[in-house]
Symmetry: C2
């Protein structure tokens, strides 16, 4: 065991604006053998998420920031290599907060076995946090009713793609907003009724065209001008789900608040924030239902897999440039 070498990224500096390679340190270390109740996991895929940008800031949030010098926090999936816990044996597929590294030595209680119902990357995508975020955010906060119009920003992203498909499964009209013709074509492929290319023109005008009766549920991943355009088009008693605000995560100025928020008053609408981990007790139930939809061909999953742990700093920024197509993963 002790001949194994781990490579990992730690947080070297807190970025101002977009992260740069010097904000990360690439380190080589001996692998630590698992102690009592621990596992050694060979990491195979690492999930790269917009939330990672928030974890780099030294501010109070829904989880503590990553400490300087600490391994960069990440959800990942891999194989058990050695186990000091009788519930796990080498070869088991497991997921957990393994971090951006090749090997994780981690308490067995913080690790979840992955059932053999889908390919490993799918458990970081549609059957992982992004899919669960879409599922609970849409169904529990958005509460869409059949026939309602659900609009999704960042619709071609890992969360947004699932939101639109679940909206269709629930009998809603789904309108997606994404950047560029390729992503918009993808939205139509996965069943969105309409796709709005925010780079191609006036989002407000497109929302008026595609949502003639207004927006009943707006699922927001991006914030900024697109949130404002959606607020201007709310239907009565609309629900706005605040899942993220990727357009604002790297800003070095004050975050742009939604200038049209008084539309909430005019339309007796609500805007509610959600964090998926509040629903942890119901993950298994949601994964089972979504796996059923996948098996029935009603829910498609797409991953954008980039090879090479060492590409992490550059690959992460694909998210903020909107260059990923599907859930962005790093293959170790």
């Amino acid at each position: 065991m002790t001949t194994l070498v781990n490579h990992r990224f730690t947080l070297a500096a807190r970025p101002v604006g977009l992260p740069t390679p010097t904000d990360f340190a690439y380190e080589e270390q001996p692998v630590r053998d698992p102690g009592e109740g621990e596992l050694l996991v060979k990491v195979r895929y690492i999930s790269l998420d917009p939330a990672m940008r928030g974890w780099m800031n030294d501010v109070r949030s829904y989880v503590p920031p990553i400490k300087l010098g600490e391994v960069f926090r990440a959800i990942a999936i891999g194989d058990v290599v050695a186990s000091s816990d009788p519930a796990f044996t080498p070869g088991d597929h497991v997921t957990g907060m393994f971090g951006v590294q090749e090997y994780a030595t981690i308490a067995a209680k913080d690790v979840t076995k992955v059932p053999p119902i889908a390919a490993l990357p799918v458990f970081l995508s549609t059957l992982g946090m992004p899919g669960l975020t879409a599922y609970f955010g849409l169904l529990e906060v958005g509460k869409p009713q059949p026939g309602e119009t659900v609009v999704v920003s960042g619709a071609a992203g890992a969360v947004g793609a699932v939101v639109g498909q679940i909206a269709k499964i629930k009998g809603c009209r789904a309108v997606g907003i994404a950047g560029g013709p390729e992503k918009c074509a993808y939205l139509k492929e996965i069943g969105y009724d309409a796709a709005i290319d925010y780079k191609a023109g006036d989002v407000g005008a497109a929302l008026r065209e595609h949502c003639p009766y207004g927006i009943n549920v707006f699922f927001d991943n991006v914030g900024g001008d697109i949130l404002d355009a959606a607020l201007a088009r709310l239907a009565m008693r609309a629900r706005v789900v605040i899942c993220g605000a990727i357009s604002q995560y790297n800003t070095t100025e004050r975050i742009a608040g939604p200038s049209n928020y008084l539309s909430l008053l005019v339309h007796r609408a609500s805007m509610t924030g959600m964090v998926v981990m509040d629903y942890a007790a119901r993950y298994a139930e949601a994964v089972a239902e979504m796996a059923g939809w996948m098996a029935a061909g009603k829910l498609l999953s797409r991953e954008d897999i980039v090879r090479g742990l060492e590409t992490f700093p550059v690959t992460l920024n694909k998210l903020f440039a909107g260059e990923n197509h599907g859930k962005l993963l790093l293959e170790v």
Copy 2:
């Protein structure tokens, strides 16, 4: 009857920014006799409300704008002078949308009789729209639980004063934000646990001091920087009630959106707009309950009554300058 002369204000122009006297026209007209099913009402008190500013703009909102040349819309209270409806007799006290004028000739179906349980001005104040707005906004949207902290902006205003008192009746801690030492003294008088003078210092720091466990319910009448300060101090699962945004009504620039809205995400909080007329079917029930609280000395009402219909354009602007102390009324 035909010898009666009516004086009234109509909307002469749509203001940019703060209304000026030339935005209104003062007119003298013969009084129109009531037709079948109509009443003639001598108007005694006219309610001046922040919402009036919104009605002057030619934009889609929860009610249509006032048309140019139309009598200025206002809720008022007065006495029946002549009736062509058997349900009303001269001398009855009635309330309705009588407008900013001395006499209203109006369909009896649009008029409500006022029970003899309080002085007339109170029916435009704590037992009228402002009180009902406070009642339903706090109880139905804010849903305060005993022991929670309720923060109110515009707390010395007609709505805010009632919100804080109902919060206390419901066993909450009530913290009010208002401008100036006199208003803050009034807040303590009516039972607020703490009063924050936004003109005297840093509202954020004061909220940290007075809300050590965060804000559970924020009832917002003002918007702008105060809304942002409150968002920064939310407790988990907080409810923000958007009742108004008086700080923004006269802006000639883009409305300032709440820069700290992502606190909704971090705290799984919601921000919901409310319009009192949605609760019209329950007004009587609310008035009865609030009248009971008033009789028990638990709910105090204060009106700022200015004499003279002709002062309307100047008196209205007292609201936007924050110069009124209690519900602002015009005595005809």
